[in-house]
């Protein structure tokens, strides 16, 4: 069953303002797993000496040594291919692809090797690797540093796709991903590394320290893959989101005072379809929000599932708020980004329908 854990459960003042941001939580998850399991190794461009372009691996090489945390050349296909071999031999590699936009050279290895080796060796060989990769826009990265390619991976079968939305989830999910015997693509929404961005790009971003989900235990814990989190309980409409868009959607719902049920999917494959079904049957309305392009985006799959399973409970057509079917623009970033205005318009429409 899905967890019910409102993201704003505690008032911000109640917390001492330290906590971890998402980068620190990811770093802590990696550190924890390096400590616990000698088979865990980390490789990628600039992850060792430099500590990662977003500092997610800072200090890990110093602490765990160069044989466990090491720099690779700029060779994404090679990085993933090497990790598949390591995994087949029994290690648990955690390769980093520096930006999700760089993952395409490695697609061949992900599709044809990592996602297939279990199937074609009838379970004799597996690829227990976790590919970490910052994804999504909101940092003016233009077309090659902003994309959300998650639906490529949900489509291919044989790979799990996980996207956290808070520091607490990031650590628990990353640990579960590393311990998972399947290849996992772990997309980190880079816009919310430092704070729960609510889509109002013209306002200052709150740091994670003021958010209850920055209260991240230093020790080991895991969040099972495939369990959604209901971040707001409501009756009027179900809002499905993941990553950055959880915070954006939640902020709109709160600002409009709509009694929406907001579900953070947390993992797309495996998907917590039970949580989705239960919620939509209750509310009779479903809105899906993602940053990726619309056509063949994961929203299309969600929409089809809701229609197949909840058709007779629906009081309005399922509605999607997504990125446009264009490359990610540099300067029109906030027009592309499915922000508060588009979410608000869609919410108002679905409640009227």
């Amino acid at each position: 069953m899905a967890e019910v854990k409102p993201l704003d459960a505690k008032p911000a003042e109640a917390k001492a303002p330290k906590g971890m941001n998402m980068i620190e939580a990811i770093n802590s998850a990696l550190d924890t797993m390096l400590d616990r399991d000698p088979d865990v190794v980390i490789l990628g461009e600039d992850v060792g000496y430099f500590g990662g372009v977003f500092r997610a691996t800072a200090g890990l090489q110093e602490k765990h040594g160069k044989t466990r945390v090491f720099d690779s050349p700029i060779s994404e296909n090679g990085i993933i291919g090497v990790a598949v071999g390591m995994g087949a031999y029994g290690l648990r590699p955690v390769p980093e692809i520096q930006f999700a936009d760089y993952i395409y050279p490695g697609l061949d290895q992900i599709v044809s090797e990592a996602a297939r080796i279990r199937y074609r060796s009838v379970g004799q060989f597996i690829a227990p690797m976790t590919i970490r990769s910052p994804y999504g826009g909101g940092i003016f990265g233009g077309q090659t540093h902003s994309q959300s390619p998650e639906s490529l991976f949900t489509h291919m079968s044989g790979v799990k796709t996980v996207i956290p939305s808070t520091p607490y989830d990031a650590k628990g999910l990353l640990i579960a991903a590393i311990e998972c015997d399947d290849p996992v693509v772990f997309f980190e929404p880079k816009r919310i590394y430092n704070g729960p961005f609510d889509g109002h790009y013209d306002r200052p971003v709150q740091p994670w320290a003021k958010h209850p989900a920055s209260d991240v235990p230093k020790d080991y814990y895991r969040i099972e893959l495939g369990k959604a989190n209901i971040v707001r309980v409501g009756e009027a409409v179900t809002v499905l989101a993941y990553g950055t868009m959880v915070h954006v959607a939640l902020a709109v719902v709160e600002e409009l005072g709509i009694d929406a049920e907001v579900i953070d999917l947390r993992s797309l494959v495996p998907l917590d379809i039970e949580a989705i079904e239960t919620s939509v049957r209750k509310t009779g309305r479903c809105m899906i929000v993602h940053e990726a392009t619309r056509t063949s985006g994961f929203g299309a799959e969600l929409s089809a599932l809701v229609q197949e399973r909840c058709f007779y409970h629906l009081e309005a057509p399922v509605i999607r708020v997504t990125g446009f079917d264009t490359p990610y623009p540099h300067s029109l970033e906030w027009a592309y980004f499915p922000g508060p205005i588009r979410i608000k318009t869609a919410l108002e429409k679905i409640l009227k329908d």
Partner: protein
């Protein structure tokens, strides 16, 4: 050094015969390009180099400032320190025939091609007047007019594209050559070697240029490259390589001439490794903890490409005053570009859906 076989032995020949003799030096088993000579520049040419390099430097300094002011967002990779490479190489090209393609650190290559600084700066600030209408940003800029096939944000991807450009030059028999730039980091991308193989196999007119600025973001060449003498990287594909002092514009131009001679003669691709150095961080958010301040300062003090040309000009009798006047002129061009980039409007929202497919939708 191996002894020359013709030299008489100092001692009587030993009993054991030829086996103990030093082998003659290995002869190259195929033709090689000549070692390039530094370019013999006239005073006017030197002045032009000085002016062009200074434009890149001042432009990049201004871009850094605009970034600091928040006028440029996202990614911005400055070319400061590497100016001699773009100027030395591109000054040798035939702008009507030859094509250039590069990676994400592309401002310098565009300026070296005489592309209007206003259009480049306006792209950096994401304005409608930018060379890609603001939709490309720092890493993704193009100019058909100048046969500049772009800045590309994916490390190494442009090398394969450049190989295709080389193919097209040959196919069209237009006499053009492609110059494909990439960095020491990109030199480890698999597709670079797939491209090398095809380029040599098909004898394509392409100059592969490795701008070895010593650091792939935060990882130094020898921490990421088994063969760190990158000019040798083409050897197993029979692509000859030359290593060039990328801080000396005359050496760079000389190497460009030699490379062009080779490629235009139909001998296939050639690889140039330009040893250079970037003074600034990889991007604007680089804490630069992977090298010391002293290291950077030492290069600035001893090997600065612009200071080098300045000294040559002084020797030719050009007065300090005249050079200061050029600097003033350049600063004016750059500040005009910055004003233009700051005051141009942002693209209309309708631009979101333009240039996605051939049809509008």
């Amino acid at each position: 050094m191996a002894k020359s076989p013709s030299r008489p032995a100092a001692k009587p020949a030993p009993a054991k015969k030829a086996a103990t003799k030093s082998a003659p030096p290995a002869l190259p088993n195929r033709e090689r390009p000549d070692q390039p000579e530094p370019f013999d520049a006239s005073k006017d040419e030197l002045l032009q180099f000085y002016r062009d390099m200074l434009l890149i430097r001042r432009f990049e300094e201004k871009a850094g400032q605009l970034y600091g002011l928040g006028l440029i967002g996202g990614f911005c990779h400055l070319y400061i320190g590497q100016e001699a490479v773009a100027i030395g190489l591109q000054s040798a090209l035939d702008g009507d025939k030859d094509s250039v393609i590069t990676g994400y650190r592309d401002h310098g290559h565009m300026l070296a091609y005489g592309i209007d600084p206003k259009l480049i700066m306006a792209e950096l600030t994401g304005r409608q007047a930018g060379i890609s209408k603001g939709k490309g940003g720092s890493m993704h800029m193009f100019s058909v007019e100048h046969k500049f096939y772009g800045g590309h944000g994916i490390v190494g991807a442009q090398v394969s594209l450049g190989t295709g450009l080389g193919f097209a030059h040959k196919y069209r028999k237009d006499g053009g050559v492609c110059m494909a730039y990439f960095g020491d980091g990109a030199a480890n991308q698999g597709q670079v070697y797939e491209s090398f193989n095809m380029a040599e196999l098909w004898k394509l007119p392409i100059i592969f240029v490795i701008e070895n600025n010593q650091y792939a973001m935060g990882t130094s060449v020898n921490r990421s490259s088994a063969e760190d003498q990158l000019y040798r990287r083409g050897e197993s594909f029979r692509i000859p390589g030359l290593q060039v002092d990328g801080m000396d514009v005359l050496a760079v131009r000389g190497a460009a001439e030699e490379a062009l001679k080779w490629v235009r003669a139909g001998k296939g691709p050639i690889l140039l490794e330009l040893k250079t150095y970037r003074y600034r961080g990889h991007s604007m958010s680089d804490p630069a903890k992977y090298r010391s301040r002293d290291e950077v300062q030492a290069v600035r003090d001893k090997s600065d490409p612009i200071e080098h040309v300045k000294k040559l000009l002084e020797k030719q009798g050009v007065k300090e005053e005249a050079m200061k006047d050029i600097d003033k002129e350049i600063r004016k061009i750059v500040s005009d570009a910055a004003d233009f980039a700051e005051n141009s409007p942002e693209p209309e929202a309708a631009e979101l859906y333009t240039d996605v497919l051939v049809e509008t939708y």
